[in-house]
């Protein structure tokens, strides 16, 4: 078993000797990444897997490559070396357009704040995600209403400009947008950093109930949030380069 696999990571995400695990949603092998203008390695992951349906919390201080790791999983960044498999498909060798399409259809993303395009209405923000996934049809509007109900958002917010919402409302709309295409994987990056304690709890409850059928990778430096997750890992245990970044 590779050293870098966290002791907290679920056993089904770990590599059995000589066998590919059939249930991996995310799989990284010998992945390294450097930003073009920077010679230092930001991400160095020898081996890491997340099982399908797993809800994983990754903690770690700021500047240890957490967001870069999520960008690599989402396909918005290309690794300098190594391979990334998403839902069994080798993601890193695909063309940019294919990666964009897979991301749009199978991966939902919620990040820190300013998640929404400020000048678009709430519904247009959500519909845009469906559009880029090629799923913008008549079923989208009822689905938005369902998500609003699930996330306890008043339906009248749909026509409001995104930048007129409170931060808490914006983050909940971001969940709705991430879930509109019914993704298999949900990537969440420090979503509660701008929320107070009460709003954090509400947000976490709503997020976990919405994403109960997804593989969830949740990254935060707030260790207190780990209690919401059955599986936990630290960035240091995944990314060998994180030590050098701190």
């Amino acid at each position: 078993m590779p050293d870098s696999v966290s002791e907290y990571t679920s056993p089904i995400t770990q590599k059995a000797e000589g066998h590919e695990l059939p249930h991996s949603a995310i799989e990284l092998s010998d992945v390294s990444f450097q930003y073009p203008a920077d010679s230092s390695t930001v991400v160095d992951v020898p081996c890491w897997r997340v099982a399908k349906g797993q809800q994983l919390f990754i903690d770690g201080p700021s500047g240890t490559g957490k967001s870069t790791l999520l960008n690599l999983i989402a396909g918005t960044l290309q690794p300098s070396s190594g391979t990334i498999r998403i839902l069994g498909q080798e993601f890193s060798s695909l063309s940019s357009a294919r990666r964009d399409r897979i991301r749009a259809r199978h991966i939902g993303v919620v990040f820190q704040q300013f998640n929404l395009i400020p000048y678009l209405s709430v519904s247009k923000n959500i519909e845009a995600a469906a559009h880029f996934a090629g799923k913008l049809d008549s079923s989208v509007k009822p689905h938005i209403l369902e998500l609003f109900e699930q996330l306890r958002l008043p339906s009248k917010l749909q026509n409001q400009r995104a930048d007129t919402l409170s931060v808490g409302q914006q983050q909940r709309v971001a969940i709705a947008r991430a879930m509109i295409n019914r993704p298999e994987i949900l990537i969440v990056d420090e979503p509660t950093s701008a929320l107070d304690a009460a709003a954090k709890d509400t947000f976490m409850q709503l997020l976990l109930s919405s994403a109960r059928d997804c593989t969830l990778v949740f990254v935060s430096h707030d260790i207190a949030l780990a209690e919401y997750f059955s599986h936990r890992s630290s960035i240091q245990s995944i990314n060998r380069a994180s030590e050098g970044l701190m």
Binding site: A74, V109, A128
Partner: protein, 443 residues
Amino acid sequence: MIGHIAISSLINRRGSVALTLLSIIISVSMLLSVELIRNQVKDSFTRTVSGVDLIAGAPTGQLNLLLSTVFRLGNPAGGISWQSVEVLLQNPNVKWAIPLSLGDTHEGIRVVGTTNDYFRYFQYGNRQSLEWHKGQGFDQPFAAVLGADAAQRLGYTLGDTLFLSHGLASVSFHQHRSHPFVVSGILAKTGTPVDQAIYVTLQGLEQAHDAPVPSLSMRKPSDSQAKTAAEHDHEHHDDDGDRAHAEAEATGIEWEPEASPKQVTAVMLGLNNRVAALQLQHQINQYQPEALLAILPGVALAELWQLMGNFERLLLVISGLILVASLLGLVTMLLASMRERRQEIAILRTIGAGPGVILWLIQAEALLVSALGCMLAMLVVTLMMKLGEDFLSQEYGLFVTASLFQTPVLSVVTIVMAATWLCSLIPALAAYRQALHSGLTQR
């Protein structure tokens, strides 16, 4: 969806977009105006005279002779004696001749002394003859025929009388009040300087000039004056000769003058064979008893276009430079917005928009601003043309229309849109590069 995002993004930055839009409207309006006026002036000049093979007048520049006789622009230079006109009329190559006597006005409208041959032989556009809106040609020595616009502007109708003022200034203190002219006909509209003039008989004009100048009044004559004039004119009917009767049979007009004027400003000539035009031009230019100048209208027009060509090019270059400045303003606006749009690009990337989509989004915004600018500029130019139509036709004899569905307009719009697409590649590629490296959060 991209269109919706682009429009919403532009509305969100409406302050800077409005300023950029304004500069595009101004530059495209200039470019459209120059191009439209250039083409329409050319067309207007070309259609003004048709079928006239030669114009003979006193020695001056060929442009001056053309502009003063055909377009009623500038001042006629001297005149030619009636004897010389008669020599020209006897030339076997000459089919018809229209003598023109210029130099008088009525209420600022130019007066042309001529004969009924003007209405018979003068052609415009694609060999179209003049037609009558009301009445007929000269039926007595003090008859006047009004061009369509002149009649409309003066509000005169058949039987009304008018006095001529000496000189071409818009206000004259020398009026030929002893000889009122009676309106015998009004020409149908031609869309050429023909519409902007009043036509009187050469004899009437000659007599009006020979008489003393009694009054300074500029008013339309009273009914009693009109009646007196009509009675006075009626006396001349009995003096018509055999030639006049022969003409009357041909034209349906009962009177034709027999008295000849001393001199005229110029003569328009129609030839039996156009091939003889150059030979006759040479003969006229070598005419010994009197110094004359003969011009070929087409050649003179070509000289005019050559002269105007440099000015046109200069105007086009200036307009083009203004357009380039406006497009650079558009590019600057889009580039300046890139920093504040980093997060927006990151969001679009995370929901599946590829770098190509981001590139197209930026280009769509630029094209939308330019398209709106072009549409508004077309509206502005239409409005300006509509407002300036009368002024240009009355002051300069230029007939421009506000029709926008013309090749030059479509060419300008196509060029502007193509230039916008090209210029917008600068910010679009910057956004593309940014999109390639943008992730969930900005580094």
